[in-house]
């Protein structure tokens, strides 16, 4: 086995493929694009990488209205306009109205950082393309100041996507890609142990059985994810329930199943074929 720079952390269980992808991203200085169903730990990954590399983490939460340039900097023109009319400030210094965005901060940071661009697919279809040059060359130009900002240290960039929209080809070609698969039983067990080290073994067995059965229900809209299983186990143990209680009925099912449609579906299954939920 080769030497790995990233091996997960005590609280983050990574599989071999993911470690290889993080290492490739670090070695090639290319952004790491992470996809996977909700709750597979995409966002957590950035935290874990930052922790294990001992670098600060900067996060850029992308929304449907986010523009690429906002990640670099914003020019608060309204404030300047307001100051020009009402404030007694010297408005000729444009610099005071320029604020760096998360990507801008990552490039100007005094030490190498990990930058998380979270849910990149939420934004406009063209959004990733608008970042190509900046991510490639790690520089950007601020026309208002006639100034080019250059990266002091190349940040490690982690980009997450929920696959709501297709990302442009040119963007994809520049990324190292990893799809986080839903964990299998062994890995899920390890993940649970990280969060609940003292969980009752029998309770965990029964709960996991239920959990995977529920994920396998045909037609379920929102499959329960790892974080929901962890919450559920927490609720179960707080309530002092034992494996037998979970086996006979399923308490606190609302922690696992949240969509109204899914609840209806399970109700119907329960009536029709005695499905335990």
């Amino acid at each position: 086995m080769s030497f790995r720079r990233f091996q997960g952390t005590p609280t983050y269980v990574a599989d071999e493929g993911l470690m290889a992808s993080v290492d490739a991203s670090l070695a090639l200085e290319r952004p790491l694009l992470v996809k996977g169903e909700p709750g597979t730990g995409k966002t957590m990954l950035a935290r874990a990488v930052a922790e294990s590399l001992d670098r600060p983490l900067l996060t850029w939460h992308v929304k449907s209205t986010t523009k690429a340039v906002e990640g670099l900097y914003t020019y608060d023109v309204v404030q300047r306009l307001n100051d020009s009319r009402f404030g007694g400030k010297d408005i000729s210094n444009v610099r005071q109205y320029i604020h760096h965005g998360p990507l801008g901060k990552a490039l100007t940071a005094e030490q190498p950082v990990v930058l998380l661009i979270d849910e990149v697919d939420k934004a406009d279809l063209e959004f990733p393309n608008d970042l190509l040059r900046e991510l490639d060359e790690m520089t950007f130009f601020i026309p208002e100041l006639d100034e080019t900002v250059k990266a002091k240290h190349r940040p490690m960039v982690i980009i997450t996507s929920n696959a709501e929209k297709d990302l442009p080809d040119a963007f994809l070609r520049r990324c190292v890609f990893h799809y986080i698969e839903f964990p299998d039983r062994d890995r899920l067990r390890r993940i649970v142990h990280v969060h609940h080290p003292d969980v009752d073994k029998k309770l965990l067995d029964v709960a996991m059985e239920r959990f995977y059965k529920l994920r396998g229900v045909e037609g379920i809209r929102k499959k329960p994810s790892t974080s929901e299983l962890i919450d559920w186990l927490l609720v179960l143990s707080r309530a002092g329930l034992k494996a037998e209680d979970v086996d006979a009925r399923v308490p606190f099912a609302g922690v696992l199943v949240k969509q109204e449609q899914d609840k209806d579906l399970l109700e119907r299954l329960k009536q029709r074929m005695g499905f335990k939920f």
Binding site: S2, E16, A20, S21, A24, V77, K165, R173
Partner: protein, 383 residues
Amino acid sequence: MFEPLLWNLRDQGLSVGLGEWRAFLNAMEQGLATNVDDLYRLGRAILVHSEAHYDLYDLAFARTFAGLTTDPRLLKALEEFLENPEKFEEGREFGKHGFASMEEMLEAFMKTLDQQDERHSGGNRWVGTGGTSPWGTGGRANQGIQLGPQGGGKSGVRLAEDRLWENYRTDRVLDVRDFAIALKALRQLAREGEEILDIDETIDATANNDGEIDLVFKKARTNRVRVALFMDSGGSMYPHTELVSRLFTATKQAKGFKTFDSYYFHNCIYQHVWTDYEGGERKESGKVLEQLTADHRLIFVGDASMAPWELFTKSAALGLPAPSGLDRLGMFSKKCPAAVWLNPDAEKLWDHPTVSAIGRVFPMYPLTIDGLKRAIKHLRAPH
């Protein structure tokens, strides 16, 4: 030495570019892969950009490196090359494996690949469409493939052969979300909504106004696309009931269009269409046609296969001659040029008189993610 992998990937239809390939080689030079497992993972991380392509990668990888396993010397050589490429390049290592030179080793390598090709054309298909691939679950153990580290973990080739990613391919059928996302791509935004502050114009106006603030407003962007969806709920659609119900869910979720209407029909559009799947309320199709505008986008969903008379006969209602089903479809396509037909049947079943007849009225696409994307592209194009 890894070039066969590149060509096999491209054979599988993965457009691996030079940039990625060089990045891959660069990563190898940096020593990121020291065994076949690493090689498998590293290649996948750098050369593949979507989980939909993982399966194709697996096929290409298995095809490239399964060839090695027929010659144990090659496998050993490859592993040692990965272990220490520089040492290997010096040429001292070849002899150990019974090769005189790097060239000879590559030659043997290519030869095994060629043999692989022969077997390929001999009938055992590598790329399985219906489970005939030797990389399925059945036969692979018989080939005695054993590659990678012994004990503990799966070898790269094993991982590749398991084809765990088959379900992520884009030629699978759609689920609700896929359909909803595709519909979203149809949006065209226009400024005709509520008023919002136009900062650029405000600055210009204020500057022209000697610094007296002059606020300028503009309309927010709204979607101006009208969509009408027609879904077949006839008998031959029975195998696709599940799919149609997913579409139904997706259409209910469809938001942001200027108008969005959905209708159901049986086999083809006749005198009436229905406004819900269970066949409750019906509406005269003439009325529906009347209410459509020329810039409506029409999406028909159906298998388009029926008895020829069901499509071509000019049926009579109340003793008056009525247009045939095909005529009615023609009227819709004439009024709304931006229209497509999505067919849930596999394309190989389209060789049918009524399917081809309808295919001449509306461009027909398979109801897969790929087909849907092409259909949406067609709808977005100016008509």
